[in-house]
């Protein structure tokens, strides 16, 4: 075990794109922790999707061995954190495993909403926050101003913040020295009852779940019987060790202050929830570490196989994905239109898109995803209160005494010239203005309370486009409030397609209904007859479009050379037909469902 005084536990926090992952890579390189032969861009982000999207989805960690200018060798535990609003709780647990945080601020962009949000999380967790000014090689860099901003807005000293370029490897050494010097060494009694904080876990098909943990007190060894204090699950430790970018390194024991992994033949990550405390069965800690919270999905959507026969494949895929992602939930759902599928819960829309993409890519499934919704609360006239996870369960208007929807506290930051357009956007989305703070001469933070439903769709994209990319968003759910809600039904050729129904704020129903009808008209192929597309609330039609009858779908010419080509064309058309769902007499391709999700793009 490493002496406490030679350990530094830190994470890197930043706004998206400010260079967090690149800095992490440089630190690893500088400490020779990376085998150059396997060097790939952004090593800590190992999921393919993460690389593509340039964001960290799952937290990871690595131990760097660093010989400092003082001649001593230190174990620097870098705990990477996810970088998106959907994952705020995960970030808070990763931070709880550290004593310090390196705050990366882009030298030209300056402080942004997430910078602040994550910094406050770090300060709340009692961390020493050490600013670093990145991308100083950019022509638009303004390090002095950004330092002043950090001091003014974030309220932490930034005078000595290293000015670096992670991309070009400038001044990385200064960051490492700062970590050794300014991040407090961990404390903790290695003889005390075990308290180990789970900050992440990952399913491995050979070892079972690999639990990433920070030992707060006591010592953990292979062979010990351990208990997860929140879930109550009991296991025998198989292996403990530390992480390096090149793999796992087994150790004899992990003691207080150290960061490492544990394997114990654990079958599912549901047993190793982020934030839970591991203790020993023999000498349990009197109480768990603070801050644990069961993760609640915020957004629900129906996921169905495009080909109804693939239902079992989808179930298997969801089961496997959940081994690795306890924050996703799924439950059997059946729709008249789509047959069997699952109502899945996600932390946010990004999380939903990621799961959907992984299902399609890694499990080779074609999916139909229905419009996402938040969880509504309905009090019925008979006094019963129910949570509505799917429009399919929304009660008849006659039975509803009170309908409520979740609200969130929202913080928006952008340069002041965009205040007007941000306010306009927030108002359109039913935002209730709370206050406005000037962060500096130029930048403004707006606080709103608004329905979560309005945030989850495309609020972030709309904000970005209205602020030319400068706007940033953070939100936190604060509870339910009464609301005027209606369920909108879509009818194709006179029949309700239940999978297209959704719940929305009554005042938005008309414009939305019109848009949906238009979108469906564009996305449903013409049939041999006219198809009316209608939107209705409780039987009353409020919008209508007509898909004209198909008149021409023919290959005029077909001689010797065209036969193979024509065959391929028909084959494609035939396959397309397979991927369509037939509702009554109307065939709807899965893309039509997607198009309805992306209503506000144009």
């Amino acid at each position: 075990m490493t002496d406490l005084s030679k350990i530094r536990n830190f994470s890197i926090i930043a706004h998206i794109d400010h260079g967090k992952s690149t800095l992490a890579d440089r630190l690893l390189e500088e400490c020779n922790a990376i085998d150059r032969r396997i060097h790939a861009e952004q090593l800590l982000d190992s999921m393919e999707l993460e690389k593509e999207r340039g964001i960290t989805i799952k937290a990871t960690a690595a131990t760097l061995t660093y010989t400092a200018d003082d001649g001593e060798t230190y174990a620097l535990n870098l705990i990477d954190t996810p970088g998106h609003v959907d994952f705020t709780y995960e970030v808070s647990r990763s931070l709880a495993a550290c004593e310090g945080a390196v705050l990366v601020v882009d030298a030209s962009q300056g402080v942004e909403a997430q910078t602040l949000a994550n910094t406050y999380l770090a300060i709340d967790a009692g961390l020493e926050v050490l600013p670093v000014i990145n991308k100083i090689d950019l022509p638009s860099a303004r390090p002095a101003e950004v330092k002043a901003e950090v001091e003014d807005i974030v309220g932490i000293p930034a005078e000595d913040a290293p000015e670096i370029s992670a991309k070009n490897g400038i001044n990385i050494h200064a960051v490492l020295e700062m970590i050794v010097k300014d991040v407090p060494a961990p404390t903790g009694d290695r003889e005390a009852p075990l308290q180990a904080l789970i900050f992440d876990s990952q399913y491995d098909s050979y070892r079972g779940v690999i639990v990433y943990t920070r030992i707060k007190a006591g010592t953990i060894r292979p062979g010990q019987d351990i208990r997860m204090m929140a879930t109550g699950a009991v296991y025998k430790v198989v292996e403990v060790g530390t992480m390096s970018p090149n793999g796992l390194i087994p150790r004899e024991a992990l003691g207080a202050g150290e960061v490492g992994y544990i394997t114990a033949s654990i079958k599912t990550v549901a047993d190793t929830q982020v934030g839970d405390t591991i203790t020993t069965a023999e000498n349990p800690a009197p109480e768990p570490l603070p801050g644990y919270r069961k993760v609640q999905p915020m957004v629900y959507s129906g996921i169905y196989p495009a080909d109804g026969a693939k239902y079992q494949d989808l179930r298997d895929a969801l089961e496997k994905l959940q081994l690795n992602d306890a924050s996703m939930s799924y439950e059997l759902e059946s729709s008249i239109a789509l047959g069997f599928g699952f109502r899945c819960g996600f932390l946010g829309l990004l999380h939903m898109e990621i799961i959907q993409e992984r299902l399609e890519r890694e499990y080779n499934l074609d999916l139909i995803t229905t419009a996402p919704n938040v969880v509504y609360r309905v009090t019925k006239t008979n006094g019963e209160t129910m949570l509505v996870y799917t429009p399919l369960d929304y009660p008849d208007p006659m039975e509803i005494q009170l309908a409520e929807e979740p609200f969130a506290k929202v913080s928006l930051i952008a340069p002041q010239e965009y205040v007007g357009s941000m306010m306009e956007l927030a108002q359109q989305r039913r935002g209730e203005f709370k206050d406005m703070v000037y962060l500096d001469a130029n930048r403004v933070e707006l606080h709103y309370e608004m329905p979560l439903n309005e945030i989850i769709y495309d609020f972030f994209d709309a904000l970005k486009s209205r602020t030319r990319g400068y706007g940033s968003l953070d939100y936190e759910v604060i509870g339910y409030r009464p609301s005027k809600l209606v369920k909108l039904d879509i009818l194709l050729n006179g029949d309700i397609v239940d999978a297209l129904s959704f719940i929305l704020f009554a005042d938005n129903a008309y414009p939305r209904a019109r848009k949906i009808c238009e979108k469906l008209k564009d996305n449903i192929p013409r049939a041999q007859f006219e198809i009316p597309v209608q939107a209705a609330i409780g039987g009353k039609i409020i919008a209508r479009e007509t898909i004209k009858a198909l008149r021409k779908d023919v290959l005029a010419k077909c001689y010797g050379g065209d036969i193979t080509r024509k065959k391929k064309l028909l084959e494609k058309q035939k396959e397309g037909k397979k991927r369509m769902r037939t509702f009554g007499t109307v065939s709807v391709p899965s893309e039509a469902f997607m198009a309805v999700l992306k209503l506000d793009e144009d």
Binding site: Q528, F529, K548, L550, R551, K552, D553, V554, L555, A556, K557, C558, Y559, G560, G561, I563, T564, K566, K567, L569, L570, E571, Q573, K574, G576, K577, K578
Partner: protein, 397 residues
């Protein structure tokens, strides 16, 4: 003593010769052809195609050639000597029926009286003339190197030369074309009294010049194109032309016997770059590059691409896709006998469409597509193919 000839028990075969040369490339054309008149290339082509015919003839001793089709490109642009030499080579190396249909595609800009007389003398008996439109502005837009007056003159000279079986190609769905324009084109062309008319809807193919600026072409909408098609079908029917395929119409039963082979599952062998064959159970295409074709034939290299042995199950799909292009259509007993697949699932689909006027069934029990059905044949076919995919082979008839 009476001469007793043994009735030849040979399989009919069609031959296709692709002549890949044109005066200029039309803006919509995606056939393989070169806009040039280089003697060296043309000679190289002639040698290669003749050598190819020679080596192929030996492979088909049990076939009787009953149709020959010279297409392109612009065969008439290649010149009479070359064409005569190719046809003579065919006659020397294949068993060509005395009544064989021997067609040649001609363009109005390359038919001299001399050429026509020579072709007739060599045995060509059917000419297909590319007229396309009666509007000189449109012809210019299409990149056709001739006017309508030239086309009419060419037609008259073809007649004067003595051809009794003449076909003309027309196109609809052209830039800025109206239904009225199209009716006028048909009226004008019908006055020429051709035996055969092909009407093709303009299709913008990827890789053609038109594809690059298709948005600017101001093409009639699909609905208007559908009306143009139905207009043509009706006008031609009332003037005595029988529609025997989606885009083909003929008087006096003078159908294109060669083209019918494509739709009725006959065998055919192709020569020249990009030509296709369906021969002895295999379908293949020759390389789409003149130089590669020439050197391949010369050096004994590979000129065939995309050789496919078509399994019976796939042939069953082709049967639907190709036969339903023809007015004769498909029959349950024929289908079940050929492919050992049940016709019932297909009949269901066909009956559903019959109720809407897209299909019909004649007194012989053959199913066919109506003109309205032809227009959406891809939709109907993909439904039929799906039904076929799901059908279980029959144990016995």
């Amino acid at each position: 003593m009476p001469i007793i000839t043994r009735r030849p028990n040979k399989t009919p075969l069609g031959l296709y010769v692709h002549v890949p040369f044109c005066r200029s490339k039309c803006q919509y054309c995606d056939f393989y052809s070169l806009a040039c008149k280089e003697d060296k290339l043309m000679d190289g082509y002639l040698d290669a195609v003749c050598a190819h015919i020679k080596e192929s003839g030996a492979l088909a001793p049990n076939y009787k050639v009953d149709t020959i089709y010279f297409g392109g490109g612009t065969p008439s642009f290649f010149g009479a000597d070359g064409l005569a030499q190719i046809l003579a080579t065919i006659r020397r190396n294949f068993d060509v029926d005395n009544n064989a249909e021997i067609s040649i595609e001609c363009n109005p800009d390359s038919v001299s009286d001399k050429l026509l007389r020579r072709l007739l003398a060599e045995g060509f008996n059917r000419v297909s003339l590319g007229i396309q439109s009666d509007d000189d502005e449109v012809l210019k837009k299409l990149g056709r190197p001739h006017t309508y007056a030239q086309a009419v003159s060419a037609y008259q000279r073809i007649r004067k030369a003595g051809f009794k079986n003449v076909s003309v190609d027309l196109m609809y769905g052209l830039p800025e074309q109206t239904i009225g324009d199209w009716q006028e084109t048909l009226d004008n062309v019908l006055r020429l009294l051709p035996e055969h008319i092909s009407c093709y809807g303009l299709k913008i193919e990827e890789g053609t010049p038109f594809f690059a600026y298709k948005e600017m072409l101001n093409l009639p909408s699909d609905d208007v194109q559908a009306d143009m098609y139905l207009t043509a079908v009706e006008m031609l029917r009332s003037r005595g032309y029988r529609q025997y395929e989606i885009s083909n119409f003929a008087r006096k039963n003078l159908y294109s016997r060669h083209n019918l082979k494509y739709w009725e599952g006959g065998e055919y062998l192709g020569f020249g770059p990009s030509a296709s064959s369906d021969f002895a159970g295999k379908r293949f295409t020759l390389c789409r590059d003149l130089q590669a074709y020439i050197s391949g034939i010369r050096d004994g290299g590979e000129v065939m691409e995309d050789v496919q042995e078509i399994p019976l199950r796939e042939r069953a799909g082709e049967y639907l896709m190709l036969r339903l292009r023809t007015a004769r259509g498909i029959a349950a007993d024929e289908y079940e006998r050929l492919f050992l697949l049940p016709f019932e699932p297909l009949a269901e689909v066909l009956a559903k469409h019959r109720a809407l006027g897209y299909t019909g069934i004649n007194e012989e029990g053959r199913w066919y597509l109506t003109p309205k059905g032809f227009l959406i044949s891809n939709t109907i076919l993909s439904e039929l193919l799906l039904a076929q995919d799901e059908s279980v082979p029959m144990r016995k008839l």
